[in-house]
Symmetry: C2
């Protein structure tokens, strides 16, 4: 088992009740990563379902999750032949932290797309032309960066040097530092792994996600994932961030959109 596999494990304590131990490694400063939380929720939802894959996860982040013990409550609302849907909640100290609706289904790894759109342009550059997060951040903020193996398109990382690119974009190759081949749970992490795209607009600091929905579209092939993040509108302190994840076989495997708050301006 990989560290990520261990860190997302849930233990069933009763019908629809699970315990999780949130790993401080997947946090960034004060907050446990939202993609990691969605992976934990998805593991409980799949355990409680006759189906194998979290095809639709809509999560609302109410409060900051802290490393340590958490309870995951799964309330099945429909269980059918094609799909099942549950309300899934993450609770710490009796307080709701994340609320989600998760629909599970069983995707066939052998499915060939009937139609697929063009891959995003520009592509993520070859991995040897990409840059890692090396040396950035202090002990307090490095947790998440140490758990993932991400290589960023330098064209979207000017904000690191005080030269934000001026467009809400971020692109990278994604994998886990302690190797864990792409699966549904790694996809949950991948869709929320990029630094906030508004860092390229001069925003600074943490950009808390309010709502994030992601769809698993195919079973990913082994190898690095290409993660493309972009946004459409920054207004009134809110921004959207869309992420597409393409696998090493060149297939679109996940799509997401989140609505988040812009951090403090520089």
């Amino acid at each position: 088992m990989s560290r990520f596999g261990d860190a997302t494990a849930v233990e069933r304590t009763a019908e629809g009740r699970y315990e999780a131990d949130l790993d401080a490694g997947f946090s960034f400063a004060e907050a446990v990563n939202g993609g990691y939380l969605m992976a934990v929720l998805a593991r409980a939802a799949v355990d409680a379902s006759p189906h194998e894959h979290p095809v639709a996860t809509a999560a609302t982040f109410l409060r900051v999750a802290k490393p340590g013990r958490a309870e995951v409550l799964v309330e099945t609302r429909k269980s059918g032949r094609t799909a099942a849907t549950a309300r899934v909640g993450l609770v710490q100290d009796g307080v709701p932290v994340v609320e989600a609706l998760i629909t599970t289904s069983t995707l066939d790894a052998g499915d060939e797309p009937d139609w697929v759109g063009e891959p995003p342009v520009p592509a993520v550059p070859p991995i040897e032309h990409c840059t890692s997060f090396g040396g950035v951040g202090d002990d307090r903020t490095r947790g998440f960066a140490d758990q993932v193996d991400m290589r960023f398109d330098p064209a979207t990382m000017g904000w690191l040097d005080g030269q934000p690119g001026g467009r809400p974009e971020m692109r990278a190759w994604f994998g886990l530092a302690d190797p864990h081949e792409p699966d549904a749970y790694a996809l949950a992490l991948a869709v929320d792994a990029l630094p906030p795209i508004v860092l390229n607009m001069g925003a600074r600091g943490w950009a808390p996600t309010v709502e994030m929905t992601w769809h698993m579209r195919a079973v990913p092939a082994p190898g690095p994932l290409a993660v493309h993040g972009s946004g459409r509108l920054v207004t009134g302190g809110w921004f959207d961030e869309e992420v597409e994840v393409w696998d090493s076989a060149g297939r679109l495997v996940a799509q997401s959109r989140q609505l988040a708050r812009v951090g403090r301006k520089s």
Copy 2:
């Protein structure tokens, strides 16, 4: 009050409990329209919130809603200064029909965007070059088409004549037949008002939405809304449909994505 305003009204019967009367006019064949249902849910969520606008609505459609009496249950999970979040459920005959998570906030109609992406290309053609749904369908299926005033880009309507365009796209101008100026609830309807984009891929029949999330990004100006629908992947019987809604002042006012099942192939 417009017919749409009446049709989406909810009556509070107790703390967190509302009654609605689903209007058969907003159904298509056997199913009440999903956007109309999201408007009804949003009205209850806003009534139960200190905030004015449904900025994030994530809805999962469990069963077909029937015209007539329905109950809407609102369970507040967090109520803060910037936003409030509730679980919102639509129940008919004691059975859950729609489950949603709705986050409300108060948008400022005077906000100017800090950044906005390019409008979708191609644009919806001038309204006089667009086509209505006139004469299509029988009494059973016309309900929804009679309640909206939609004018479609002819380039995306070849499927009506048995000549699907081959790309999952649909574009139209949107308004209500009984005039109702754009507001949050009209946006909920607009994001699910287009015919399924897979009709342009040779699919036929109803394409049931499984999960749909939409975000209200700005208070819309009066006048017709431009609605742009497109998809990225059709595979294993599933497809995604993204919709952007732009108002008459040229502003992006709503974004959505749905995951749906492909109807029977022709």
